[in-house]
Symmetry: C2
Subunit: 500 residues, 2 copies
């Protein structure tokens, strides 16, 4: 086994700490899974050209911090149950700037820490459904009900997606105002695959593309991976600024605009109907493609959401994406795309050359859930819960936040967006919060470059109202403390125990 | 609903036949799913600018051929159960050259027709496991056993793959001579995704890449989708020709060699150990990457298979791919990649920008199947069955084939490769075979260009020995008949009823 550890000598850090840090990083990012055995002290010392004592110290440090355990006569193993607080600690210690890729990885891992009772760690960092609200039983019933079906596992599925599911998805699209026949829908591995396929079809490396500023982290990552040039469009209360889009079209000749018009991630803003019309109109006039990510579209708390942009688009310039990751469960990994014929054909050709098809079992289970109304029943159950959490967040922000902090008023979706006073001492308040057991997402992760302003994204879907209240209270106290910071002054934080 | 039909006027075909043919094509490729409603005669006539009679005739033709059914007072619908023979007929009628994409689509759809009792249609076209041998119960047990597990559906999986599965896959790799730690494995959506990710990391549009000639159809499709330039390397009994690889390296500076060294698809050839060493050596000397597709590696019928090329590769130039699509079930959509660190990191970054992660349920189910020995038990059960089918195929070929036909002797895998006499009358014998209810894959589909020789791939996994025997008998008779073809002469085929 090679751990692929690189040590600097002379490094700024003692060797044993360098080794421990690198092993911890591998555990943290999941590459050293629970139960994996570390090399013996002797072999790692030999491999790295250090003394056995150094490796011994590194392992001792890891064991003390709860990352590994030593079994007498057997060896040293990654602990089966890493405590979330240890993982948060490691993230808090990591001072490197949050790139889209790293932050996405951190968020995915945090999303996996669904055991909320552990260590009092609270996450408002991740825009996913509350694991406790995922309709696990209904999904399992739908899966189990397929057991008798002939030929489900034996063949390859259709590259456009299971036909039964596509019929059901046509109804889903209609509910969002998007007219689509089953033969116009491609089933994808979440919105991510739809976005990745559309982006590859529409743009070549070096091309400019427009994104809202801020925008969905995963989109920035897709754009970076393809070598595209993202141009940020500022948002106002009604959505992306039309004049800014027009200016960017003239200056950069972008290939497409990626937008989350309904309950935008990360801000929670909803694009107004007139802005939707204006954008559809702009796309028609300038031959601009619109990639519309409607993943939050059905999470509406204050009456029916506006129809998708695709519903306003008579010129067929919209590639419409959605999924059940925010409504049912992320781990079904099922999304869908509605695109004009020429684009759809090219996306389908790429799909053949990407992953061929999705597992039919999960597609057919989703078809069952949609056809028997389970998604609608589930939304009827959980939307009032999310609405109360949204209300609690708004109330807590009003009550606790110091002057100078502002925030958005989301009418749906799972997140709100804070703007902090422009004070450099607040740049790393998200890192300070991690030390106190609260995870929130730093605004710069959603930016094409470093933003001037200081923002935080608060995802409110995960916690009950009381917890949201106390999270906001803590966050407000940390902001307040930082703003009046004196070396050694921690008085205002009495009552909260940091993790260190 | 728009059917996106394009009619030529004046066309070579009557309008009603053009319309029927295009609707049939949409049903055939799955875009018009079973149960979909066709437009009314009036609306389609209006849309296309033809008389209602023309549309009426088109629908009548489709109904007569069993593609659609008319429900009085309701409309015309795609039939719920399209007969495989109808589908084969449509494929036989399609005279366009078989592109990789279209043939891959046809094969995937044929693979879905697992109801072998229907219409006496027999397929030797698809290199997949026998659906009757897929261990459906064991897989369903593994899936059902996960029902109680906390947090399975709620989160996002790890982009490298479920850690539990990666621990089990490390053992699988070790069994093929490939040393890999769990943290060196990326779980992929079948070999296809591993191949797609590796190819994108290693090559840019316009780059030359080496493939065996013939090679796996899906690889040609990935290469075409990325705009790469495939260079075919001829095969001998021991694998790809070393001198030809060296010449191609000098002339084309290729980025990688894609190879299926063990039970090659489509030929069934197994690369000798010395050839594996030579290729590993070549890769080290010329900085050539090897993409090794080991998807058939465990389907060995005559003793243990040779270790993977990766086992010979001390210079770390191999990207090793495998999956359970041929051993357990294609529709689990799970494969894996072992790659050197630098390549692996870049593949992982692309994975974030591709589909994020796979559904955890199916990954965890596979981990259970691997850990409790279900895969090994399944192989112990089905390998002797496949071996008997391979033996039956060899015996039938010796017994029936006319002089001038030669074939490979596969020691594992699911296919054998026929070389027919170089007689142009045999170019479309696969199409003739379709009319007699037998599907085999034409050799040109596996070629980077049109091959000089005439080949067929026979996949022997699907049928029992008696059926294989009669398929080969029919094919031999068709070849014989074509070789002595006189207009109107069908005497030798008495006893077989064509589908037309």
């Amino acid at each position: 086994m090679t751990l692929e550890i690189a040590i600097e000598r002379p490094g700024s850090d003692p060797l044993y700490r360098q080794i421990a840090a690198q092993i911890r990083a591998r555990i943290r990012d999941g590459r050293l899974p629970a139960g994996a055995r570390l090399p013996t002290v002797r072999s790692l010392a030999g491999e790295l050209g250090v003394t056995r004592n150094t490796v011994h110290d590194a392992y001792g440090r890891l064991q003390r911090d709860g990352w590994v355990e030593s079994i007498v006569g057997s060896g040293t193993y990654v602990r089966r149950r890493i405590q979330p607080r240890d993982m948060l600690q490691a993230m808090a210690d990591d001072m490197s700037p949050p790139t889209a890729e790293r932050l996405l990885g951190d968020l995915l891992r945090l999303a996996g820490l669904s055991d909320r009772s552990a260590s009092g760690v609270r996450s408002m960092a991740i825009s996913v459904p509350d694991p406790e609200l995922v309709p696990t039983n209904a999904i399992w019933d739908a899966i189990s009900g397929l057991r008798g079906e002939h030929g489900l596992l034996a063949g390859y599925g259709h590259p456009m997606g299971d036909p039964t599911l596509r019929v059901a998805l046509a109804e889903e699209c209609a509910a969002r105002g998007v007219p689509a026949e089953p033969n116009e829908i491609i089933v994808t591995a979440g919105v991510t695959q739809g976005l990745a396929l559309a982006t590859r079809v529409l743009a070549d490396p070096g091309d400019a593309v427009l994104v809202e500023q801020p925008t969905y982290l995963g989109c920035l990552h897709v754009i970076a991976a393809l070598g595209l040039r993202p141009i940020g469009i500022p948002l106002d209360d009604e959505g992306p600024d039309i004049a800014a889009i027009e200016a960017a079209i003239r200056e950069h000749r972008p290939r497409f605009l990626y937008t989350v018009p309904t309950f935008h991630n990360p801000t929670g803003i909803t694009m107004s109907p007139s802005r939707r019309e204006a954008i559809a109109d702009l796309a028609a006039r300038h031959d601009l493609w619109i990639i519309e990510d409607d993943v939050y579209g059905r999470l509406s708390y204050d009456g029916p959401p506006p129809p998708a942009i695709a519903a306003f688009d008579r010129a067929q310039r919209t590639i419409y994406l959605s999924s059940v990751s925010k409504t049912l469960a992320p781990d079904m990994r099922i999304g869908w795309v509605v695109a004009p014929k020429a684009i759809r054909e090219r996306m389908l050709a790429l799909r053949y050359a990407t992953d061929l098809c999705l597992p039919t079992i999960l597609q057919r289970a989703l078809a069952t859930l949609l056809n028997d109304g389970a998604l609608d029943r589930h939304l009827a159950h959980c939307l009032p819960i999310y609405r109360r959490r949204r209300d609690a967040l708004m109330m807590a922000l009003r009550h606790h936040m110091p002057e100078g902090v502002t925030w958005t008023q989301p009418r749906g979706g799972l997140c709100a967006w804070l703007t902090l006073p422009q004070d450099e001492r607040l740049r790393d308040v998200h890192r300070l919060a991690l030390r106190y057991g609260l995870a929130v997402a730093p605004g710069e992760a959603f930016w094409t470059s470093t933003p001037d302003d200081i923002h935080l994204r608060l995802a409110f879907g995960h916690h009950d109202e009381a917890t949201i209240w106390s999270c906001v209270e803590l966050l407000a106290r940390l902001i307040d403390t930082r703003l009046t910071w004196e070396e050694g002054d921690a008085v205002r934080l009495a009552g909260w125990t940091p993790l260190v």
